[in-house]
């Protein structure tokens, strides 16, 4: 290329230089437009470049539209491309001028050179001007039939562009049908891939209004289609492979053997150097095996090495994306990764967002055999120069302690932290020691001795101060100085900015008073006076409440404020398992990186063409918005037995959220929708029976929501002996869908035996037992005394499915069963099988 003519004028498109430049350009372009002098193309190129560089940095150069179009009538392809780019950018705001370009674009669409045909067609479709769509249909139609595959790939995308400008024009021209035909017949894989992308977008968006489109969209997931694409997968580019794999992940095989066929076919994709392909493949494997616990676990084992390789190769950004996914899997099934803990050690030069993930993974995989090493490593980080990470590391040590492994040694370490005399270390350690004491009160002697040595003046952070004050109140009997330390804190009431600390102070001084009245009386009086005068509403109210309570009766007050406490066995999880499952369902998407399901960060319209399962899977949205009340089950993925340990191990990471009061197993506390919780709250309160036997919200609410339908009369007996398919498979969304659609065919209540109750301490045992009887668990949850299980089974050699909801209350020794069946006439027989299976387990 010739040297730029204006190179003296600093070609660097630095910063906006104003309107003068633009009108200057306009003039120069006009001069060149008609010229046929030799070398004129080079001058034009330089001017065009200038225009585009202005456009890039945001200067409005739309005023030279006419001149640009005139200049590019020539045949120089470089000029043409620049002009196309320019026109695509400004046509929308200049629809009249855009009309000028139609002519030459249409002409170029018939050019001999396929390159030019393709380029022109792409530009034509990129004009985004609604009143020009009539000019698109013709060129698109011939583009789709072009003999050049380049033009066809462009044309397919053009159809999608047209759809977005004018959906009706696109549909009326019958383009979707043509694309569908091309998808199966075109020899060029990129054309096929583009057809798939375009059809997914078009049909997903049409599906809400057109049943046909909805059917077509489902059709993309048909066995023929999926197999057709799978069989050609190696011919596709790596990016198109990702597209196909994303589709396959939604495919529901009708028989078990298909699952293995697909996995064998895709096995070598796990060795691909492109992380996007590997993750898409992993998603397929995980989704396909959801209902096959053993195989699912094998998949975890199989994908470990490829994931670790991807984490350590490639750019740091890519490595982060993969690590986020590994993090998700580790959190779901920590025990599978427990021997890989060294891979989760932090490197000094990693960014904090990577270190944070790794710390969580280290916490999760800690077990009896590796805790010592993990905690030793974490203690190294506690002295780290990176203070936020040092804090996280200390918290991680505390979490591991709360997980019960080798608490003894860990408590020593935590106490050592307190002796390090670094403010932030002390602060974090105090909070942890407090949590630890709530769970293991037996450690109080050792901890109190160390905590007693900490000067409250060195503790400034509200959380830490509150923790210290809590311990002072709780253990005031054993801490010699407690009343006096509290007293000095109360003297400085005015300087205490945190309301949380002041609230704790009130409670602590009350507790201290009950244990050591003479020493504390003065401090209590001062605290109540200060509290009553406090401008913060909560502090004021609490002070007033305590005051009145004391006035009424001191022993009642003690009973209210300082009742004997039970050790906390499990800290509430901040994220419900419903949310975790949603995120898992959205594996290989942003949900995993953000650790949020997509509905929390994406508008409905942008959730993308792949969100097939929306209507079925989206429980939490359902309850918020639905006019029809939907029974809410917490349906968990079938690898639940991998998961129970995770969800129960996690302790709360912060103040409990609004919904956490409702973390009862059977409905969605996670919607984080205050509105939903509110409604439920009102429902619960308005039901007088609730307070009677408190921990049964599930039943009550189910009933309120209309789930507890009257028992239908059982159909006439005398069914043939029923045989079940031992390899039955059902994915959670299908389960949910069926559960919603089918009526209850049987509802029964049985008493359970004490042995059975004892057996339920390990619900997995029951699940395995039932599986032995070809009855599979798809979801389970709950804590003593309420357990809830969802089972399914399929008739041998038929696809007739049975669904069971089984609620067991161990304290009342009752089991409630609701059975739904595809074929209602078989439900009696199935119920008999189900009960006999239960009784063989010793439950009935």
């Amino acid at each position: 290329m010739a040297p730029p003519v204006q190179s003296q004028r600093s070609p660097s498109p630095s910063q906006p230089s104003g309107k003068g430049e633009v009108s200057d350009l306009k003039l120069q372009l006009r001069q060149l437009a008609g010229s046929r002098a030799p070398g004129v193309d080079d001058s034009k190129r330089d001017l065009f470049k200038k225009v585009i560089s202005y456009m890039t940095i945001g200067i409005d150069v739309s005023s030279v539209f006419g001149e640009m179009v005139m200049c590019s009538a020539a045949s120089d392809i470089v000029l043409k491309k620049m002009c196309y780019l320019y026109v695509g950018n400004y046509a929308k705001v200049n629809p009249d001028l855009a009309l000028l370009t139609i002519n030459f674009l249409q002409r170029d669409c018939k050019d001999e050179d396929p390159m030019i045909r393709g380029l022109a067609l792409r530009s034509l479709c990129s004009l985004r001007v609604a009143n020009l769509v009539e000019y698109l249909v013709g060129p698109l139609g011939s583009g789709l039939k072009d003999r050049s595959s380049y033009v066809r790939t462009v044309a397919v995308m053009g159809v999608l562009k047209l759809y977005h400008i004018s959906a009706s024009t696109c549909i009326d021209a019958d383009f979707p049908a043509i694309l569908k035909n091309m998808m199966f017949n075109d020899s060029e894989t990129q054309v096929v891939a583009n057809c798939l992308s375009a059809l997914q977008e078009i049909w997903s968006s049409e599906a809400s209004t057109s049943e046909e489109a909805s059917r077509e969209r489902e059709g993309l997931l048909s066995k023929t289609n999926v197999y057709y694409l799978l069989n050609r997968i190696k011919e596709f580019s790596e990016w198109a492979q990702c597209l196909v794999l994303e589709l396959v992940a939604k495919y529901v095989p009708s028989e078990g053997s298909e699952i293995f066929d697909i996995m064998n076919l895709l096995e070598d994709r796990l060795q691909h150097a492109n992380g996007a392909v590997v993750l898409a493949t992993i998603k397929v494997f995980l989704q396909l095996t959801l209902s096959m616990t053993d195989v699912h676990q094998q998949v975890y084992e199989r994908i470990k090495a490829p994931l670790l390789t991807l984490v350590s190769s490639g750019s740091p950004e890519q490595s982060y994306a993969v690590l986020s996914h590994l993090h998700l899997l580790v959190m779901r099934a920590p025990f599978i990764f427990s021997s890989d803990y060294k891979h989760f050690y932090c490197q000094y030069n990693e960014p904090s967002y990577v270190k944070k993930l790794k710390l969580e993974m280290l916490t999760a995989v800690a077990n009896e055999s590796n805790t010592y090493e993990i905690v030793t490593e974490l203690c190294e980080y506690a002295a780290n120069v990176d203070i936020p990470i040092a804090r996280e590391s200390i918290r991680a040590v505390g979490k591991i302690a709360l997980q019960q492994y080798d608490v003894n040694a860990i408590v020593d370490r935590l106490l050592q932290f307190l002796e390090m005399e670094k403010d932030y270390v002390t602060a974090e350690a105090l909070v942890l020691v407090k949590d630890l004491l709530r769970k293991y009160p037996q450690w109080s002697q050792d901890c109190i001795a160390v905590v007693g040595n900490i000067s409250s003046k060195n503790v400034q952070e509200p959380k830490a101060k509150a923790a210290l004050i809590w311990m002072l109140g709780e253990y005031s009997k054993d801490m010699h100085d407690a009343p006096y330390i509290l007293e000095s804190l109360i003297e400085n009431w005015e300087e205490e900015h945190s309301a949380e600390v002041r609230l704790h102070l009130l409670t602590a001084v009350m507790k201290c008073f009950f244990k050591r009245p003479p020493e504390t009386q003065k401090a209590l009086g001062a605290a109540l006076a200060a509290g009553l005068a406090d401008f913060h509403q909560d502090v004021h109210d609490r002070a007033l409440f305590y005051y009145r309570l004391l006035q009424y009766n001191v022993s009642v007050a003690e009973h209210v404020v300082d009742p004997p406490k039970q050790a906390v066995s499990v800290f509430a999880d901040t994220q419900s398992s419903e949310i975790k499952d949603r995120i898992f369902d959205e594996f290989n998407s942003l949900s995993v990186v953000y650790q949020k399901p997509s509905y929390m960060f994406t508008d409905k319209e942008h959730r993308g063409p792949l969100e097939f399962s929306d209507e079925v899977g989206n429980i939490s949205i359902g309850i918020e918005s639905a006019g029809t009340v939907v029974p809410v089950q917490r349906v968990e993925a079938n690898d639940k037995d991998l998961l129970l340990s995770t969800s129960e191990k996690e302790e709360s990471r912060g103040p409990s959220n609004n919904g956490s009061v409702y973390s009862a197993p059977s409905y969605d506390a996670s919607a984080v929708s205050a509105a939903a919780s509110q409604t439920l709250l009102e429902l619960a309160i308005s039901n007088p029976t609730v307070s009677g036997h408190a921990p049964q919200p599930s039943l009550e609410i189910d009933d309120l929501l209309g789930l507890g339908l009257p028992v239908e009369p059982a159909p006439a007996p005398s069914p043939p002996p029923l045989k079940l398919n031992s390899k039955a498979a059902l994915d959670p969304s299908t389960f949910q869908q069926k559960w919603r659609q089918l009526p209850i065919s049987l509802s029964q209540e049985h008493s359970i035996s004490p042995e059975g109750v004892a057996g339920l301490t390990a619900p997995q045992a029951l699940l395995r037992h039932m599986q032995g009887h070809s009855i599979h668990c798809i979801a389970s949850g709950g804590q003593s005394p309420n357990f809830k299980f969802f089972f399914f089974a399929q008739k041998a050699e038929e696809s007739s499915t049975f669904l069971v909801e089984c609620i067991i209350n161990t304290s009342s020794a009752k089991a409630q069963m609701k059975i739904k069946a595809d074929d209602q006439s078989l439900s009696e027989a199935f119920s008999a099988l189900f009960q006999s299976a239960l009784s063989k387990f010793g439950l009935l």
């Binding site: 470049k49 392809i77 084992e301 890989d340 002295a383 120069v385 290989n588 994406t602 508008d603 942008h606």
Partner: protein, 451 residues
């Protein structure tokens, strides 16, 4: 699908900006840059590669100081977008020879051409340099290669003594050499990054080698290539997961934990004769990534020592020993050690006759830095630093210093012992004998000794 793609300079200027779908507001580049720049008020944490602002998802990768950014409103696979951005940077580099702000500004029209073909309406079409050749018409304006850092780990071959034709790897795949003929050549780079953590007693706590084999082909006619490795190479550690330091007891076998391959690679005869065959596409690409936790001999031993000398003084002694052959020289070595916050001064003492060494005490983050231009195999170097502390209260000096970390580059050395035995180009012609370059290099990823 992707809505916009743009490249920003270090200062946040748009160098190229392509809007594919018009779903995200025009000012996104500015929103993005402000967010990245002020991620946390204290400026301590850097922004993650993916984040969401007002419903728009921003993805970015940093390449030679440039920010390659994509935006979208849909819930897309993050690894796909990040991989794509990286790949786009690589394709641009293939075209421009050198990727940096200057070359990008000079060639932005060409870059637009590329971006138009790589993505259409937000969907990836192709990232193959070879396929793109037929769609791209602008010719690259080549910028001066001298003293410019290029993309990727192969850049290190341009430093130090001229053992490699350094400029060759910075030439464009489409540019013709003076005289109109292209030089037929192919580069195979075996790049290994070492992560190792030594305990305070010098015992190896964790170690890993992350290797990658990069290829860059300037061969015409895409002949098939066979790449043969050492016979004792094997993949997979027999199901044993994680770290078990099974001694390889002198057998010298190279056992990779795991690896992955470019999709052009065929492994048909790998088990038999440890050979990969492939038809290399144009431009630079990764043939293979591998990972190895097998025990290996670390190239450097670090021996740090802290001695307290009175209440407000201490001496730090750092010894570094090069445990490799004397025919090999490591270069650009940097040893760093965080010192206690209350350190006010550090005075250094190098060994007598030390050449090409620098020392520094970074006041701002209280860090000791010791730079060495080169270290010859078998040699040992020592640094002594006398520290002075402020009289404020201070705790355990040893606990509050360290760990010592080290960065280095060792050309023509690889710790894993993986070797390319030969590189065969299958083209039947007596006169055809292209240049073949097989180069090894080892770098520190995280090389740490605790105190």
């Amino acid at each position: 699908m992707i809505s916009q793609l743009f490249v920003l300079s270090q200062r946040g200027d748009n160098i190229v900006f392509r809007d594919y779908r018009g779903e995200v507001q025009k000012g996104s580049a500015e929103i993005f840059f402000r967010k990245v720049k002020f991620w946390k008020e204290d400026g301590q944490e850097e922004a993650p590669p993916v984040f969401n602002v007002d419903g728009v998802n921003y993805f970015h990768v940093k390449v030679v100081g440039l920010l390659f950014v994509a935006t979208t409103r849909v819930n897309i696979a993050p690894s796909l977008v990040l991989e794509l951005l990286q790949r786009i940077a690589r394709v641009i580099k293939d075209y421009l020879g050198i990727l940096n702000e200057d070359s990008l500004r000079k060639n932005f029209v060409l870059v637009y051409e590329l971006l138009d073909e790589v993505i259409d309406f937000g969907y990836v079409q192709t990232t193959s340099t070879e396929m793109l050749k037929s769609y791209v018409f602008n010719e690259p304006i080549v910028v001066d290669a001298a003293r410019l850092q290029s993309l990727g780990p192969a850049a290190i071959f341009m430093q130090g003594p001229k053992r490699m034709p350094g400029t060759a790897v910075t030439k464009s795949v489409v540019a013709t050499e003076p005289g109109g003929r292209r030089r037929e050549e192919i580069f195979v780079d075996i790049i290994e990054k070492i992560s190792i953590t030594f305990s305070s007693s010098g015992y190896i706590l964790t170690s890993e080698i992350d290797g990658t084999i990069q290829m860059k082909s300037y061969l015409t006619g895409n002949p098939e290539i066979r790449l043969a490795f050492n016979d004792d190479l094997s993949i997979g550690r027999g199901g044993g997961s994680g770290y078990d330091y099974r001694s390889s007891s002198g057998s010298g076998a190279v056992i990779l934990d795991d690896c992955n391959f470019h999709q052009s690679v065929r492994l048909d005869s790998f088990d038999m004769d440890k050979t990969l065959s492939l038809i290399p596409p144009d431009g630079e690409f990764t043939v293979m990534n591998y990972r190895l936790t097998q025990e290996f001999k670390p190239p450097f031993r670090i021996n740090p020592l802290i001695e307290e000398a009175g209440a407000l003084k201490a001496e730090v002694i750092i010894k570094v020993r090069a445990d490799f052959s004397s025919s090999i020289t490591a270069n650009t070595i940097m040893v760093m050690m965080p010192l206690p916050k209350y350190t006010t001064r550090a005075s250094f003492e190098l060994e007598p006759g030390a050449l090409g060494q620098t020392t520094d005490f970074k006041e701002a983050n209280k860090r000791l830095e010791w730079g060495l231009k080169k270290i010859v195999g078998g040699s040992e170097h020592t640094l002594r630093a006398k520290l002075t502390f402020s009289p404020e209260s201070h705790g355990n000096i040893t606990k509050e210093s360290g760990p010592v970390s080290m960065t280095f580059t060792i050309p023509m050395y690889n710790a894993s012992k993986l070797q390319v035995k030969y590189l065969q180009i299958a083209k039947k012609s007596g006169t055809y004998n292209p240049y073949r370059w097989v180069r090894y290099v080892t770098q520190a990823n995280s090389y740490v000794a605790r105190i």
